[in-house]
Amino acid sequence: MDRREFIEQVAAWSAGLCAATPIFEVGSILAAEEKPKAKPILAVAKGKEYGALVERAMKPLGSMAAFVGKGARVVVKPNIGWDRTPEQAANTHPDVVKAVVQQCLDAGAKQVLVFDRTCNDARRSYSRSGIQAAVESIGDSRAQCVFQDQKKFVPVKIQNGKSINEFSFYKDAMGPACDCYINVPIAKHHVLAKLTLGLKNIMGVIGGNRGEIHKDIHQRIADLNLVVRPQLTIIDATRILLRNGPTGGKLEDVKILHTLIASADMVAADAYATTLFGMKPEELGATVAAAKFGLGEIDLSKVKIVEV
């Protein structure tokens, strides 16, 4: 190999590698083609047995099988952001996560992945939240609580985004790798966003510098939600964090409600969860921005609320 040949090959390979870097295009079709749908259904279930609560909450929506097909690859995305115990109400309750995963398995899912981009050390958060142990206790190799792999964050263009046009997202939570994305956030206080609910739970599947989102948090959260669209949102309000969120740490800030909210419409679910804190849905900028995108129904009078 002479010098000329070497340089040519380097150039060719580099060009090839650059060309091969994937950028997911999310066309304007997604948001634009939202058509007025039938009245979204929102299930509110109350009870102290969280495992059974999930099943009850799913009934008005037509059971888990309506969302998870046989052989589906499912992502269950709880909030495992913090190195906190379940009673401190910073993470989704492990019993809720376990029940959701179990129902997906019962519905015939081929694979159920549970993950989050944690804020504290991932090992500590997975462990102390009890979620890793809960998923492992099912004892089914199809269900796995996995740590995120840095290599799987890929840049995605957000063409309809009003505040951001591109951000990196977790590959396994999107497109071909995921047939059904189930959003399982916990409802809690957040000083900037006011509350963190279903829409903000997207923070767990994005890469890059998440602080950037904070600069215009309401609009940017809505923008990000144009990319990953959960088929189902189950908001864990079994206990909610009223102050000092999203980390919490004091039991005095926790209010126990024994409530689950389930809906295919994430905006409606967020809107309803907002009322649990004594606030109006319109007070959350992210919910308003998402509703403007047509991502869901913010007006609860236009939602069929089924209490079970």
Binding site: D83, C119, N120, D121, R123, R124, S127, R128, Q132, K151, H190, V191, L192, N209, R210, G211, E212, H214, K215, D216, I217, N244, P246, T247, G248, G249, K250, D253
Partner: protein, 596 residues
């Protein structure tokens, strides 16, 4: 002592070495967060076995450290068995032995060269080329390379080096100048493994799996390898290159002589050797048979010398001289209260070269040297003490006699005592940095002088979003072998902040740029939030809309100095909030501009 079960002694020793090396590596791998707040315990046992580290830390910090009770047990065992630790236990010694095996092909080639030189020399009727002290090769096991390296003579100067080091290190420690971490064999081994080998291993294996792509390797092999054999994530460390270089030099010395490090440098080996002087286990015969030098050639430690005989201070009880004694007379024995009768050497001792003048001279020297089994001269002791005592003075002179102020951003691990005590107690073993789940603990370079090299410090923003002190984690105090980082429960840890956070109003987005952010407040783990909102302003944003800006401040009574705010600060480069030492003189005025 008979060989047990008719298995040669060296096989017992090799088995012990392999087993203990595996234990060492297993403990090394276990020095990591594995899901429980409390480690199983014993991860630091090799350091706590180390009487040199213990003595130096106790001298430097001027306190008794009860954590070092296993080292006392080792001292007691050494007084019975001699320097067995170096031959049977020490993981560095075992690795050096394995490395020597790797070098064997090289040794063979050199030996062939040597042999041809000898035969040429003989053919030409030249003088004897000194090859081995025994005057011949170790038959069938061509391992003469090390002896060639030493020119077949155990030079007193070489032997004295490690004693010099030992005395200098201990004297310097007594003058509160901690150096032991630089030369302690476990410290430099664990640092090399943690800072260099482990990250390299992770990245290498990860890259291989990356190439292998999807399939069996990714599904089955990768989870197993990642979970069982690799650390959780590749860590990043300052001074990785220096740690690697130190370790590389220790191994490269193996080219000069077998177990060169152990023979000539290791101060721990020197200390154990001094104790071995009184050990109860004796080798018989105490002299080298005149007609045969097989044991001399077999000895990896150079403990057998045709002139000086056997020296217990060098012997690490590898037992090869017993296994390879052609006449089967060499043995180790415990004799208490009885005079040791040396077995007779070969009756045919006058065979061969015969008594020439050189040999007469040699045997005359024999007795004199025998009286000093430890080749430790008064000069070595005195120069060692002088060097150790001079070191603090040299360091003092190097900074022109000025008191070095502790840099305000030199954050020490939770619960660390004042700077001199902490540096005295710390043996630079790297355990805390290995176990730290967030990689925030980094070796200091010269931030607290040359005496602070390799001591742990927190660098919150080293890795964006990842390196900070985890609020509920107490692992560093659990693995510290000396108590330099005390064992604290979570509550006690929060009561001893690593520092306090300060906003830089020239950088912080809500203050300087009138941009919403408040990421630090979001991350703050204090249950009552040490970062609070000072005021909420409504301003007109770029697009003409009204934007709410929350401007934060730090409630320093609540701040524990974990640095998660600094690590996660949204802006690029230097963070808008930084953590400074609790004792730093008013960082608000000294480093940052005050808010208007």
């Amino acid at each position: 002592m008979r060989r047990p079960l008719w298995i040669p002694w060296r096989w017992w020793r090799r088995a012990a070495q392999l087993l203990l090396l595996l234990v060492f590596l297993w403990l090394f791998r276990r020095t990591e967060y594995t899901g429980a707040d409390q480690l199983a315990g014993g991860e630091n046992i090799f350091f706590r076995l180390d009487p040199l580290a213990g003595a130096a830390a106790m001298l430097a910090a001027r306190q008794f450290i009860a954590l070092f009770w296993p080292a006392l047990a080792l001292v007691a065992l050494t007084l019975i068995l001699g320097r067995f630790f170096c031959g049977w236990v020490c993981p560095l010694g075992t690795l050096l032995d394995y490395f020597h095996r790797l070098l064997r092909p090289l040794a063979k080639r050199t030996n062939r060269l040597l042999e041809s030189r000898i035969s040429n020399s003989r053919r030409l009727g030249g003088a004897d080329i000194p090859v081995c002290p025994g005057g011949r090769h170790f038959e069938g096991r061509q391992e003469c390379l090390p002896h060639r390296g030493e020119k077949c003579r155990l030079t007193a100067a070489g032997r004295a080096a490690k004693y010099f080091l030992l005395i200098a290190v201990l004297t310097a420690a007594a003058f509160a100048f901690p150096l032991v971490g630089l030369v302690d064999p476990f410290s430099l081994l664990v640092r090399g493994l943690t800072f260099w080998i482990d990250p390299m291993l992770f990245r290498g294996v990860d890259a291989c799996f990356g190439w292998a792509g999807e399939g069996w390797a990714a599904d089955v092999l990768q989870p197993f390898v990642k979970k069982r054999l690799l650390p959780f994530r590749p860590m990043v460390f300052h001074l990785a290159g220096l740690s690697a270089a130190i370790l590389a030099v220790v191994f490269a010395l193996e080219l000069a002589a077998r177990r060169f490090w152990c023979r000539y440098v290791c101060p721990l080996g020197a200390g154990l050797g001094l104790l071995a002087r009184w050990s109860l286990v004796k080798r018989l015969p105490a002299k080298v048979c005149k007609s045969c030098g097989d044991c001399v050639a077999a000895c990896r430690m150079g403990a057998l010398d045709p002139a000086a005989g056997f020296s217990p201070e060098a012997c690490n009880l590898c037992m090869e001289c017993v296994d390879f004694c052609p006449k089967g007379i060499a043995r180790f024995t415990i004799e208490i209260g009885r005079k040791v009768v040396s077995p007779q050497c070969h009756p045919e001792r006058s065979e061969g070269s015969g008594a020439n003048s050189a040999e007469i001279l040699r045997s005359a020297q024999d007795d004199r040297r025998q009286a000093r089994p430890v080749r430790l001269s008064r000069r070595t002791v005195l120069t060692g003490i002088a060097a150790g005592a001079a070191m603090p003075g040299i360091a003092w002179a190097a900074r022109l006699g000025q008191q070095r102020p502790v840099p305000p951003d030199l954050l020490r691990p939770p619960g660390a005592a004042d700077e001199p005590t902490f540096l005295g107690l710390c043996i630079r073993c790297g355990e805390c940095m290995k176990v730290c789940p967030t990689n925030v603990l980094q070796p200091a370079i010269f931030q607290s002088g040359v005496e602070g090299l390799f001591s742990p410090r927190l660098i919150p923003r080293l890795i964006f979003e990842q390196s900070y002190c985890e609020y509920a984690c107490t692992l560093c105090g659990q693995v510290c072998p000396t108590g330099a980082i005390p064992r604290l429960d979570e509550e006690a840890k929060h009561a001893q902040p690593t520092g306090k956070a300060y906003f830089d109003h020239n950088l912080c987005l809500p203050w300087a740029e009138k941009t919403a952010c408040i990421r630090c407040e979001e991350m703050c783990p204090a249950p009552d939030k040490a970062i609070k909102i000072l005021n909420t302003r409504k301003i007109i944003g770029k697009d003409g809309q009204e934007v709410e800006i929350q401007q934060p401040y730090v409630d320093r009574d609540l701040c524990v100095g974990c640095g998660i705010c600094e690590s996660n600060c949204t802006i690029e480069g230097t963070a808008g909030i930084r953590v400074f030492r609790v004792d730093a003189a008013d960082p608000q005025t000294e480093f940052l501009l005050k808010p208007k």
